[in-house]
Amino acid sequence: METATAAHTDHHADVHGHEEHHHEETFLTKYIFSQDHKMISKQFLITGIFWGIVGGLLSVLFRLQLGWPNETFPFLESFLGKWAEGGKISQEFYYALVTMHGTILVFFVLTGGLSGTFANLLIPYQVGSRDMASPFINMLSYWFFLGAGVVMFFSFFIQTGPASGGWTAYPPINGLRDTAVNLGSGLGFDLWILGMTLFIVSALLGGLNYIATVLNMRTKGMNMFRLPLTIWALMFTAVIGVLSFPALLAGCVLLEFDRLLDTSFYLNNIIINGNLLGYKGGSPILFQHLFWFLGHPEVYIIILPAMGLVSEVLSTHSRKPVFGYKAMVFSILAILVLSFIVWAHHMFVTGLNPNLGAIFTLFTLLIAIPSAIKVFNWIGTVWRGKVRLSTANLFAIGFVSMFISGGLTGIILGNSAIDIQLHDTMFVVAHFHIVMGVSAFFGMFAGVYNWFPRLYGRYMNETLGLIHFYVTLIGAYAIFFPMHFMTGLPRRYYTYANFETFNNFNFLAEFISIAAIIVFLGQVLFVINFFYSIFKGRRVEVEKTVDGYDYGNPWGTTTLEWSSPIERLHGNWPGDIPAVHRWPYDYSVNGREYIPQTEALKPGEVPHE
């Protein structure tokens, strides 16, 4: 906290001018070892995009196997060598693909890429702060993230292949090192643990910094209930991360002990080919508790920032205050609390005490209530607005649609009695991909299209954006809606040919694979648009010029980020940090289209509070 306090004082002291923020910067300090929150945000975003493409490509590869289990694809052998001999993806590599697809998208894209990008970009801008509480720790957070990614990426190129025992890393399959019967559990999994450890360090450094910044560095007049919902969401996300990631770290360290030091935290009476190994007294279920103590809050770490971004984008583009601001804040808080007491719904059929199953059913289904409140409030925000259907807003609307579709099936899965049949089947895959995968991506895209002008001073291209949106919306539904009908099909199957029971859906698997490939190409279009727009995109219109700084406000938003010049200054504001006089959602009030938070109240005006 000491750093935070120091920075706090500094931020009050620096009212005497901005010159000190304009010291000479070299390429290295500006682009590489930057401590500027906006640059770190870009670093997170571009790294996240890289991982998004890798993770998506992995899914295309395993969809080739699932869609056409009897075909061969000779070109695969040229790229993948021994992993795809004769053009057929090997069993080992198939499991490596699904494992790394999950790991990469859950952690590296939708946690690091999403929170990292938008917490860094929006927290200092929207609370009115020159930078994070500790810019240095913030930089470290990115570098640990990058390091984690390098380790994970490296694991693809080792002889024994990357981790393959599922992104959930369950022992004993991942707890026994160098045993012939295990799957990708050699060096690849050690690197997985190392990568995750670095990742957790990054998440903790970042999270503490975000919380400290929101709590301590708000500008004058910015009380908590004047914070935009983005900031509430990002702060609560950070709180969840800080409280739950350590449990995963502990779980992973003990798992590595089992692997390297032959301890028995998770292993007991393991018999391989009739030989009893020496492990005694551990419990594989213990790891699942530790894993899901993070793993479940993790899905809220993914979805809450998306919810925050969507609330803001919907309100801005509907030219209407977000409906039920305080209800939104308290429902995020309710989700935060509940997210910690529902983890065992991932373990209903592990043989845990049925009483526990009942309690976890109760808490799990309770989460539907704050989620429902949020959905109704979003719909209420669009109702009677003056809705600008820009790409950003379309993605926000798409988010709400996806979140409804995916959230509703959660009511089925959260009910333990029904989950007996559905657990570990394609129904679950469909559910969580829609509700936290696709939804979170929609929220992220809404955010990127909306705040791209803030990052680069240019707009993203709307035509490419619209194509991207419709391909993704229709494609994602085409993939995951019919998948719900595969209710009895176990997930993580290389082929269903061994079972008469599961062999009826081959035509559907092929359809899904085709849709997945098209959606992937749609995302490539997004990447093209992104880099094209950095250099060639339409510039943000200059609305006024003060002291040589150009100001604009591309979407007409009330929040503080556009009270700063279009140019991204280190320190954000050339002069004093503006004070805040009103809540962030004064849209279409007092005959004005929008009133920025910085605008003082008129005599006699009652602030909305």
């Binding site: 009739g274 209407k320 059913t361 429902a372």
Partner: protein, 369 residues
């Protein structure tokens, strides 16, 4: 070559799209120095309606095409109830789905800015918030109560029939070991230690326990119609999960921790075939066997927890028969136990010090100890 060509076509497509996008940017409508979204909003407003229609047509097609292909109705007592719970929940969420999606996309169309109206400043309404908190709460309370009741009933040891049969299933890479207790209805004791577990006695059965002498291993899971069964589950090496999709049974098998699942099969394999004979989809010819699908229908046992590279291959047939047929099958099974052969092979048996060595290095053979 095909791969290369498709790649080239895709690249070309992207180039064309970028050029179109560039042209659009140069010809954008300007209003007050800013790009106007009026026309784009109008276009997307209609697209929102279009998507709404597409979504419901698509959903209806999914139900029409895919429902007949899904698993047939549950063949166990509790399965019928959980299926009912599934269906009633599906109905409720289906209604919510339809109404919320219509509201969302219709509002996006109706209130898009091209209609030239003003936005309505309406920041909150506490009555509404209370309404849409309380109604979901009531509905959820009902679902939770029904779910909990069913769940506690499935796992209630008191509710079990004392005359149930007990079968032991142990998962290993990549197979299921199915042990029946034989004529006496009692399992021989298992001892998981170096002295008992060996490549020839993977389960660590204590052959000195006379109850083990009629235990046998089955290649198919035989069950009796309407006879309750308690599956005693375990795993040798890694996690497995005992999954009987037609009976709505699933329970993980955990090395070192016993688990169990109690259920009552209600339809024999033959009865299920008779039932499927009346179902349109099952009339189709199975290309592999050349017979109608219903004729070769069988219950199956699968693994539902990733257990290694051949996870997808842990298949066993499951057969449900009437008691009489079961008894006939039972009579044909041979116990695992091989009576001691010490007299015929004296060289290998003996003395106290060898048995001590045995404790360290497991070499115990079937039926010899």
């Amino acid at each position: 070559m095909v791969a290369f060509l498709s790649f080239a076509i895709i690249v070309l497509l992207f180039v064309v799209l970028v050029l179109i996008a560039r042209a659009q940017e140069l010809t954008a409508d300007l209003k007050d120095g800013k790009v106007s979204f009026h026309n784009q909003s109008k276009f997307n407003g209609y697209m929102m309606l279009g998507f709404l229609v597409f979504m419901f047509v698509g959903a209806a097609m999914c139900f029409k095409i895919l429902t007949p292909v899904m698993l047939p109705e549950a063949a166990s007592e509790h399965g019928v109830k959980t299926d009912f719970l599934f269906n009633i929940t599906m109905l409720i969420i289906g209604i919510v789905f339809v109404f919320t999606q219509i509201a969302l996309f219709y509002f996006a169309y109706r209130y898009n800015e091209s209609h030239g109206h003003d936005s309505y400043f309406y920041p909150h309404n506490n009555t509404l918030e209370v309404v849409w908190t309380v109604i979901p709460s009531i509905v959820l309370t009902g679902l939770i109560a029904m779910g909990m009741y069913e769940w506690m009933h499935i796992f209630d040891p008191e509710a079990r029939d004392k005359k149930m049969m007990v079968i032991e299933a142990t998962g290993k890479q990549f197979n299921w070991m199915l042990r029946y207790s034989g004529k006496d209805g009692k399992f021989g004791e298992r001892l998981i230690d170096q002295a008992h577990v060996s490549p020839t006695n993977e389960l660590g059965i204590n052959w000195e326990d006379p109850k083990s002498h009629d235990d046998f291993m089955a290649d198919k899971l035989y069950l009796v119609k309407n006879k309750p069964v308690l599956m005693k589950l375990g795993a040798q090496d890694v996690l497995h999960s005992f999954f009987l999709p037609h009976f709505r049974v699933k329970m993980d098998c955990v090395p070192g921790i016993p688990t169990e699942f109690y259920f009552v099969p209600t339809m024999t394999t033959e009865e299920m075939r008779e039932y499927l004979k009346t179902q349109p989809w099952w009339q189709g010819i199975n290309p592999e066997t050349g017979l109608p699908r219903w004729e070769t229908f069988k219950y199956e046992l699968a693994c539902a927890e990733l257990c290694g590279k051949s996870h997808f291959g842990m298949q066993r047939d499951v057969v449900v028969v009437e008691q009489k047929e079961y008894d006939e099958w039972l009579a044909k099974q041979t116990p695992m136990y091989v009576p001691p052969v010490a007299e015929t092979a004296p060289a290998e048996t003996p003395a106290a010090d060898t048995s001590k060595a045995e404790e360290k290095k497991p070499t115990a053979m079937l039926g010899r100890k």
